[in-house]
Amino acid sequence: MNKVLMRLACLVCLTGLLTGAAPAQPPAAEIEKRSLDSFYAAGRDMRVRVSMVLTNQQGGERKRELTMLRKNMGSVGDQRYYMYFHAPPDVRGTTFLIWKYPIKDDDRWIFIPAIKLVRRIAASDRRSSFVGSDFTYEDVSGRDVTDETHSLLRSEALDGRPCYVLESRPVGSADYARRTSWIDTERWIPLKEEYFDSHGRSIRVYTADRVEEIGGHWTVTHRTMRNLQTGQRTEVTFQDVSYDQGLPDNLFMERALREPPASVR
């Protein structure tokens, strides 16, 4: 009899706990981790044709066209990127290889076709501009969740999508003091990011302008980065996106830099 009462009491307590509790929210770092995985590491590999339009304050435009291949290697955050530039004309045929590691600096190589030269590039600054655009190398290939500390500010809708709003602060020195990001609670991709300097001024704003589900992965196929200090913006369009094509490891080696496979030209 006592045992029955005890069980009943436990059940009442548990029911009370459950009905009284708010819906569980994952910790901020876990949200960020899941967002980074969805945004930068979806699938085992990815292939995409990237168009970049850089527009300055006066409306002048510069264009970059490249094919980008990405492969996730064995351990988390260990990735390889291969890029073949189609435009502008003076860099057509230039190839670029990045081996990205979760902790140490990237390894980067560039191949300059006019002199058939593979050159290794010193690459300790992931915050430098990627091909002169408003995106940094880090914006292109991602960062590690531990590069910043994260806190969950609130949950709110952005353009009709439910979002976690995170605030992230860089652990080491960086060109921003904090970053606010709106992460889709269902698709886990960042829909907006705003970077602030140490005076609290907004300096860069990223927006995901078009999101599509491709091969089971939510993919931002049009994005914009606005530099509020220079007035310049860069719009990036992804075309011909494919995932999990079984890209071989040898595509991400020096030999493929020198001899770009016909499939990327």
Binding site: R62, P88, R120
Partner: protein
Amino acid sequence: MRARARAVITALGALGLTLTGAASARAVDIGGFAQVNYAARISGAPCGAAGPCDFLLGEERLQLKLEGTSEQGRSGFAAKVDLFQDAVENRAGVEVREAFVNLTGKHAALRVGRQIVTWGAGDLVFVNDVFPKDWAALFTGRPMEYLKVGSGALKVDLHPGAFDAEIVVLPIFQPDRFPTANRFILPDPFPPGLPRLEEQKDRSLANAELAGRISHYLSDWGLSLYACRTFFRTPAMAVDDPAAPSSVHIFYPRLNTYGVSATGSFMGGVASFEGGYLDSREDRHGTNPAIENSMLKGLAGYSYPLWRDATLGLQGYLERTLDYGAYRATLPAGFPARDERRWLATVRLTQLMWNQTLTGSLFAFWGVTDHDGYLIPSARYAATDNVLVEIGGNVFVARDSHTMFGALDRNDNVYATVRYSF
């Protein structure tokens, strides 16, 4: 003999079949550029009875580039042909920079035709890159790609697994292109008026050059071994009769080279090392003063990002002449002696600005033991996605006129290049 002929016919048949496959190729890519390139000497040095000769270079150039690959990507071709008009030498011409056919298999690739090959880890300092170069192009501020000259060659790439191998056969010898008196003001160590007789290598199979490289990655360090059977591309010079010279013989002695290089990440930058042994086959004892002795070469380089979009590159280079005693003993009287050890240091500072559309660069050679130097300041601006403008200079500093940069001391120049790429 018949078996060999059959093998050749079979190979040609396979090539024909592959090229037939290429006939169904995807659209051929066409590109290239139109370019204007001028360089003017600013040293004010007179150059003889012909009057002022300030312009070192004054040319317009059109490059057409065609590339195509077959549907399966197993075969392809590329050609780069320049049409140029050179006002300084008052001539127009055609230069085939590259023209080759590729055949690609799973573990091997073949490239046959005129092509550019670049080896080694140095930045404008070459230890194991034995392929032809155009030094006159460098010293007149022509775009960097013109430092390399295409060679008619057969190149086989093998990549069976753990390592990559590259074998290059160059059937017909081609020397480096050096500054000549029709553009540059140069000292002449020989009595004036002596005719020059340049050796034309006969086109025998025995004169074919052979170069091989094996590369392997150890973690993220790229390691390579090199071996080449070649010739000095720098001319050797000797008078026919030292007592009563009537002509200067210019020739290119045989050379074997063996070397190694390594490049990898180190302390946030990129470190590179390269070493080579040059076996001067026609002067193994160092007793022929006209021919370079055998030598050892070593290079260490480090490139480091200073701040955003700025990179500093440093190199130290040592060249040690072997059999130095024999060299000194046989050096003709009156000829300046080189040091046994020649030290060279280089610095490259590069800064990108204006969203990486403007590149400021300074490259400096410092001949530590030769007491000479060579500075290349430049600014390159991508005015649009198609238009590139570059201005720069070539400044030579020297104590003596017999050293590498000392010989060019009266040729300080500024250059300008405007290029429209399409």
